[in-house]
Amino acid sequence: MSLEQFKNRNVGTQHYKMLDLGESPKTPWCRFKRVMKRTFKGELFVGLWVTMREMINALFRGEMHTVKYPFEKLPISPRYRAIHEMLRLLESGHYRCIGCGLCEKICISNCIAMETRYDENQRKEVSEYTINFGRCIFCGYCAEVCPELAIVHGPRYENASEQRASFALFEDMLTPIDKLNLQQEYPGFGAPTPYADENIKKTPLAY
């Protein structure tokens, strides 16, 4: 998709519809005529009818808009950026994070803190990983930069709690190992597109 239309900041020439407001009256006679026209146009009654129609719609045609929030919830977009989740590899159950530190580096509010070390197999192992959700602005850069799709934004937007800490540790964000079969692949921000395979090219190494 071309980004052309998003980069066009020249708002004056876009698809704006100009309202035909007509001429403003000049002579007292014209003004009088306008008053008369507005007086007898019945627009006020159109307004009354519209609200009455909406009331009938709401009461008798089941078009009530209210979502009783804690009892009913609207579906959220897969691109919604709520509290982060750390995903696991589906095959081995090991966490996907390879400790590359890119998310820590890119985080613009500096709220990711991580420590890594080599384990006995000389693999990078994450020993500490916390996100300070008091500072996180949920920009999604960490999810976008992560090469492994290890850190993603989950759908958990109800994050009122007594303790910030109850969201912020690696273990809290990591998919529980017994829920591994329920782990959803992340379709949102920074995830591969549905046609990612077709777009893969060989890295041109020959100079």
């Binding site: 307004g47 609200t51 909406e54 719609n57 009530m64």
Partner: protein, 344 residues
């Protein structure tokens, strides 16, 4: 009282009037409280919302919750306010609203059955005080009620309050002339200021209603009534989007609640006047007459809420322009034409 139909009715005693006054106070306060619930529900439905839902079935007990909140809230009097005036201003609004209701027929008259101890056999009239200048009295009382917002706004040492008070004055100067002139034409036709006479004049079917003879006066009176009760197209006094809460900015707790009750009582009064003067009133002989007038009053009440949901409100200068340059000439012409027709 040569004008009433009281000849064939029992004697009105002081006890009856006092009972009536207590009934009016209790029932109208309750209806005013219930009116807030109705208003929220109707506005909500018109915007396809649910309105209050959680206190009681369908939110019916919301009034109780609000009442408890209002009664137990701290009553704050701001530091630089004129304490005396600040304290009595809400009472003016509420009291005048109820005093106005004294001259309005609100419920059917009845006699307390004999077996009731102490009060048995007392006749309770439908009008607490059936004086022969009923309409003038009611309109005068409602006009006096505007002293409430005026004094409240000026006493509270708050700029929004001052603006609210200034707007009260503007509103007062605007609509009062229209109210008087618009209702003058029906008064000329009936030849009396008593509500009972208005009611009697229109008996015998819909075709006798004054609205058919005086449609212009009806519309004018309705417009002025909306201004008088401070309802939406003319709710300048406390329009939240512009002047925070206008004259009520510094009020809290029960004092604020008294303004509210006064406003709703005024809405009911205006509805009653419109129903009696223009829509045929009540037929005192049958219970159905009272049922019908309840329906008419309810319709006017609903109309106020409906209009609030549908229409934007006007600027103070537009209100003044409308009242003095449009409505007053129309009202005067209406009175003139009525007079000419009556003379011919």
């Amino acid at each position: 009282m040569e004008t009433t139909l009281a000849e064939n009715l029992p004697q009105v005693t002081a006890a009856g009037v006092i009972i009536k006054a207590i009934i009016i106070l209790a029932v109208i306060s309750a209806i005013a409280g219930f009116g807030t619930y109705i208003e929220r529900k109707v506005l909500a439905f018109m915007q396809r919302r649910l309105g209050p839902m959680h206190v009681g079935p369908y939110g019916l007990l919301q009034i109780a919750a609000d009442g408890i909140k209002l009664f137990t809230k701290e009553d704050i009097i701001p530091q630089n306010a004129n304490k005396l005036i600040f304290a009595i201003a809400p009472a003016i609004t509420a009291a005048t609203a109820f005093i106005a209701l004294a001259a309005v027929p609100v419920f059917p008259d009845f006699t307390i059955p004999e077996w009731v101890p102490l009060l048995g056999g007392t006749f309770v009239p439908s009008i607490a005080s059936d004086n022969n200048v009923g309409i003038l009295f009611v309109l005068g009382m409602m006009a006096a009620g505007l002293y409430g917002p005026l004094l409240a706004g000026m006493a509270q040492a708050n700029k929004w309050g001052i603006i609210g008070a200034a707007r009260t004055a503007i509103q007062f100067l605007s609509y009062e002339v229209v109210t008087g002139l618009s209702i003058l034409a029906p008064i000329m036709i009936v030849g009396s200021l008593s509500f009972v006479d208005f009611n009697n004049y229109q008996q015998g079917g819909i075709e006798n209603w004054l609205i058919w003879k005086q449609p212009v006066a009806f519309v004018l009176f309705l417009i002025a009534g909306f201004a008088e009760t401070n309802r939406t197209p003319f709710d300048l006094l406390e329009h939240e989007a512009e002047v925070v809460s206008g004259y009520a900015t510094e009020y809290s707790g029960m004092r604020w609640g008294m303004f509210f009750i006064g406003e709703y009582a005024n809405m009911i009064t205006i509805s009653v006047i419109a129903a009696i003067v223009f829509l045929g009133g009540y037929a005192a002989e049958s219970m159905f007459g009272w049922l019908f007038i309840m329906l008419k009053i309810a319709f006017f009440f609903f109309l106020m809420l409906w209009v609030r949901a549908a229409w934007p409100h006007v600027r103070p200068d537009q209100l003044m322009w409308l009242c003095w340059k449009v409505l007053m000439p129309i009202a005067v012409i209406n009175v003139l034409i009525t007079a000419i027709v009556m003379m011919v």
